[in-house]
């Protein structure tokens, strides 16, 4: 019962945060793990650090749906969704829900060595990731992965365009 109430209170708090769009409030610190939660609270909005310019630059390679590679220098502390948006990378339909864990369009595939070092997923991320097209064992949602120094030089993919498979797969899902 208590867990339910906390969950409701948390959800309400999140909804208020999202609706009021108060960017400065969406700081990592405001979503610290609540003692009653077993998992780290997920990042629920997409905001880079306020002092982005002083963060170190990390090289990340993105491969889009057509196999085209873009290499960009990104700031530590940004999420990979932030990066795709800010750098205006050509990845179709990325980040439809704007980082609120309500879709799976920021799905990214990582190299195994990188994937293994990422922070574990919370239930809410797995819930949405499980609906992603082209899911792999090293898939994550870009809005939940924050850039860190050690990621320098990594490559991330989005699933390649394979129309027939997608059509069949999606036909099995419901709304």
């Amino acid at each position: 019962m208590l867990a339910q109430q906390d969950s409701m209170a948390f959800r309400k708090c999140v909804q208020v945060l999202l609706r009021s769009s108060l960017a400065p409030l969406c700081h990592p610190g405001s979503t610290r793990a609540h003692p009653r939660f077993l998992h780290t609270v997920p990042r629920l909005c997409s905001q880079s650090q306020p002092n982005g310019s002083s963060g170190s630059k990390v090289l990340v390679h993105f491969v889009n749906q057509s196999g085209v590679k873009s290499s960009v220098f990104v700031t530590e502390g940004e999420t990979l969704l932030d990066v795709v948006i800010k750098k205006n990378l050509d990845i179709s339909g990325f980040g439809a829900c704007e980082g609120t864990l309500a879709c799976s369009t920021c799905h990214l595939i990582f190299e195994e060595s990188v994937y293994d070092k990422l922070e574990p997923m919370v239930d809410e991320e797995v819930d949405m990731l499980d609906l992603a097209y082209g899911l792999t064992k090293t898939s994550r949602l870009g809005c939940q992965v924050t850039v860190e120094r050690w990621m320098d030089g990594m490559t991330v993919h989005v699933p390649q365009e394979i129309k027939d498979q997608r059509g069949k797969q999606e036909a099995m899902r419901s709304k």
Partner: protein, 486 residues
């Protein structure tokens, strides 16, 4: 021949100097008159499929003009009228659609009923290509006696009612009964169950309509059963929505352990998404929830509706008769087979959530009545050059917004391929909106432009603010038009 003369006459009118014509030119013609003779594409339907298709077309070629026609004065389709009020994050896609609507090569024409105000053939004459993205406005019926009794609603209409769809504003569902039965176990069914049982505090700051909020505040519904033909391993909802049911305050889960026989053993072989969903269901069965909870909800499996039962006076629904099934086969393709056993459930509210359904828009467009879609090959409408489709009218009414997004991108890509391969004759100049707007004017039809929708939008947000809500939707088309054209 008559139509060509009509169109020629209409185009001549634009060059006239009457103030009406000048207003016409300003509203629909200017873009057409001043821009270069690039390809012109028409999209029928202003929901997610329409906007995502438009987006991709605008991005792919720098000289394509895209016009979106929508029957209602307001855009966004099911993002506005289908997504639940307590899922505002899902509606964030409206931001990207708004950018598309404001794009200099895109024009939105609301309040235009394609099929009635203008035909598909007339659109095909005015544009190089036409894309049908008009979705699924009908619903599958249960096909059982008593389905038409008061107290029985389609989920589409119930959702339309709490989301402010103008044609559902007089629904007035009677919420004075203790038990509601929902047929179907997809995400729409779970949305309806959640809205019926959610505390009013959870809803009162959302964009749910005020009349629905007040009706729900006075609701006596305390128990919601969500009924499916097959078993737990075939349930169509997804885990996020199930989690929300499990976490509803002051509510307990009321399931039948018998429905879950053999499920625990099957878990280990399931793929991760199905496994986690089933595990969460099993947890809800086991834990049940707080006995003191005022409200309860539960799945009922292996049951198909066979008759809606009326009370002694025969005037309204008072119960539903269910046939018990057994499962043949397993996994996604398992089939429900009758056993002959029946079960009656007393209830005063019955909501059928077994699927939306597309309907034919125009006799000139091929339509497959069995699958209720426009027959097509990768988005190219069968036997009809220059006609395409995207979204639910192309593949059937299932999938989330992201599914429709990918599908719309696919259709746009195919259309562009056809442009580049010369399958569409781009050497011919097409008049586009210039001609259609003129034609509509002769029929007494005036479109709502995107900037005019933005006035409606501002009015709704303002009304919402005074009620402490995200927005208060206008329910009346005439009111919308008055504000749009003020």
């Amino acid at each position: 021949m008559k139509m060509i003369n009509l169109m020629r006459g209409s185009v001549m009118k634009i060059h006239g100097l009457s103030s009406a014509s000048r207003r016409l030119a300003a509203e629909g013609g200017v873009r057409g008159l001043s821009s270069s003779s690039g390809p012109r594409v028409c999209i029928v339907g202003g929901g997610p499929a329409g906007f995502y298709t438009a987006q991709q077309l605008l991005k792919a070629r720098q000289n394509t003009a895209v016009d979106i026609y929508e029957r209602l004065p307001v855009p966004f389709g099911l993002v506005r009228f289908g997504v639940a009020p307590d899922h505002p994050e899902v509606k964030n896609v409206i931001n990207t659609f708004t950018q598309t609507g404001q794009h200099e090569r895109c024009s939105f024409h609301g309040n235009v009923n394609v099929g009635k105000d203008v035909t598909i053939d007339e659109l095909r004459q005015a544009y190089h290509a036409v894309v049908l993205s008009y979705g699924a406005e009908g619903n599958r019926s249960m096909g059982i006696p008593g389905e038409g009794l008061p107290g029985v609603f389609s989920a589409k209409d119930f959702v339309g009612w709490y989301n402010g769809l103008p044609s559902n504003k007089e629904l007035h569902p009677d919420l004075s009964f203790e038990t509601a039965v929902i047929l179907g176990q997809g995400n729409v069914a779970l949305d309806v169950a959640r809205i019926l049982l959610a505390p009013v505090e959870m809803l009162k700051e959302t964009d749910i309509t005020q009349n629905a909020l007040e009706a729900l505040a006075g609701s006596k519904v305390r128990r919601v059963l969500i009924v499916g033909r097959r078993g737990p391993l075939q349930i169509a909802c997804t885990i996020k929505e199930l989690r929300e049911m499990v976490n509803l305050p002051n509510t307990r889960a009321d399931m039948l352990p018998a429905d879950f026989e053999g499920i625990a053993e099957a878990l280990k072989d399931l793929p991760r998404p199905r496994k986690r969903l089933t595990e969460l269901m099993m947890k809800a069965v086991k834990e049940g929830g707080d006995d003191k909870a005022e409200k309860c909800w539960g799945f009922r499996f292996f049951r198909s509706p066979v008759e809606v039962l009326a009370g002694a006076d025969g005037k309204r629904a008072t119960g539903i008769r269910l046939a018990l099934n057994k499962l043949e086969g397993s996994g996604e393709s398992a089939r429900a087979e009758v056993t002959g056993q029946l079960e009656d459930v007393d209830c005063g509210l019955i909501i059928s959530s077994i699927g939306y359904k597309s309907i034919p828009i125009d006799p000139a467009v091929p339509f497959d009545p069995r699958r209720a879609i426009v027959p097509n090959e990768m988005g190219r409408v069968q036997d009809t050059a220059g006609l395409y489709c995207s979204g639910w009218v192309k593949r059937g009414p299932t999938g989330v917004i992201a599914t429709t997004m990918n599908d719309s991108f696919d259709t746009a890509r195919v259309l562009i391929q056809d442009m580049e391969a010369g399958k569409l004759d781009l050497s011919v100049n097409k008049p586009g909106a210039q001609a259609i707007t003129a034609l509509l004017q002769t029929r007494g039809v005036r479109a709502v432009l995107f900037s005019q929708w933005e006035k409606i939008n501002a009015a709704e947000e303002k009304r919402g603010k005074s009620l402490g809500k995200a927005r208060e939707k206008l329910l009346d088309v005439d009111e919308m038009l008055k504000i749009a054209w003020s």
